[in-house]
Amino acid sequence: MIQTETCLLLERVARQDRAAFRDLYHHAGPKLMGVLLRILGTRSEAEDALQEVFTRVWLRAGRFDPSRGAGMTWLVALTRNHAIDRLRARKPEQNDDDAAALIADSAPRAETRLIAQGEARRVSECFDTLEPARAEAVRGAYLDGLSYEALATRHGIPLNTMRTWLRRSLLKLKECLEQ
């Protein structure tokens, strides 16, 4: 299974195994590149970010704890974090809207790609308990790395309303997920 392979590679990378690092790059690189491209919007910035991500993977692999989650989950979290840090550090005039415009039409397709099993099915079911527009806001925030500001613009509502909306949706999601 893919997750297991990622875990094994990460454990070897933690022991400074360069061959494993190379294998991990070929194994996980395309997925992480997909994350970066979707959030950052341009190939040149995504490639730049991918270098930084794999530098961090090499330095931080020792902190990966397989008992606390899958290897690919850890890698995607690290990658999303870096991409979002980059987005938030951008100057206001080149904000998230460019990236959002590029990927806005892919959101519904993304939804259908959710694996309908286990935890994935559960998350999908919990999203279904939200109003469709709110579920889309949460999903869009996650997948595209949108800020409250960008979300408010996308949904055409004031920033504070967006914030309240999203926080209520998150609370509802949490209640559903922890049932």
């Binding site: 933690a14 022991r15 400074q16 360069r18 190379r22 070929h26 690189g29 395309p30 997925k31 590149m33 997909g34 994350v35 491209l37 979707r38 995504a46 490639e47 270098q51 794999f54 530098t55 330095l59 606390r68 989650g69 899958a70 989950t73 995607v76 979290a77 999303r80 974090n81 979002i84 840090d85 987005l87 938030r88 550090a89 993304a110 939804e111 959710l114 694996i115 935890e119 994935a120 998350v123 999908s124 999903r139 925030a141 996650y142 997948l143 790395g145 949108l146 800020s147 409250y148 500001e149 979300l151 504070n160 309303t161 309240t164 999203l166 926080r167 998150l170 609370l171 999601l173 949490k174």
Partner: protein, 215 residues
């Protein structure tokens, strides 16, 4: 719609979720990041939300990576290995030929001899010398001349395979270092660097490399 207040627990949990989603503005985001490092309960909430949202990762498409990126990452991550190898080559070419001859003689000794000396880190007359022995299963490195690292610092032992990054074998304190480790083959390098107490924070040498020896 009214903005009813959330309970403090909910507030913490929502902040964790907002951080994982990535919706926060930079100052709030940095504050949350700082809190993850100091507040274990908050860090656990963040981990829980990462797991909750992980199934959404399926929606990220895989995109081919450009072939020239990996060499660029490697040259950025591993310059030390290259520099270190250059430095011990110079070191070998210099005034220490005599000790290399001595090492050669030691390498010719029967492998079954317990705790055979496989390398001397430091030369005769050095202020600091470590001796590396191998008994077939364990590598034992002890200080034969000089003092341990001053307070707040430590000596760290590294093994370097040809063309590879240094791998830490442990810290060299007052007592000899004894680790179960296969006998490093000829051409590998042992090195000692000066690191902050507790060892290198990055997993790679961060301080000056003070001693090296090729096996």
């Amino acid at each position: 719609m009214t903005d009813a207040p959330f309970s403090p627990q909910d507030d913490d949990d929502l902040l964790a979720a907002e951080y994982v989603l990535g919706v926060l503005a930079l100052p709030e985001r940095l504050a949350a990041e700082a809190r993850i490092k100091t507040d274990a309960a908050f860090a656990a909430r963040v981990s829980a939300w990462i797991a909750h949202f992980a199934p959404l990762n399926e929606a990220y498409a895989s995109v081919p990576v450009p072939p020239d990126l990996l060499p660029r990452i490697e040259s950025r991550l591993f310059p030390k290995a290259a520099a270190l190898q250059r430095s011990w080559r110079l070191w070998l070419a210099g005034a220490v030929t005599a000790s290399v001859v001595g090492l050669g003689v030691l390498l010719l000794m029967p492998q079954s001899a317990p705790g055979v000396v496989i390398a001397n880190l430091g030369t005769e007359g050095s202020a600091l010398v470590y001796e590396a022995r191998h008994d077939g299963t364990h590598l034992r490195v002890s200080r034969v001349t000089g003092n341990p690292a001053p307070e707040g610092q430590t000596h760290e032992l590294w093994v370097i395979a040809p063309g590879a990054a240094p791998v830490s074998l442990g810290l060299l304190g007052s007592d000899p270092l004894d680790v179960e480790y296969p006998r490093p083959p000829q051409g590998w390098v042992l090195a000692v660097s000066v690191e902050p107490a507790g060892g290198s924070p990055t997993g790679a040498p961060t301080g000056p490399v003070i001693l090296t020896a090729e096996l």
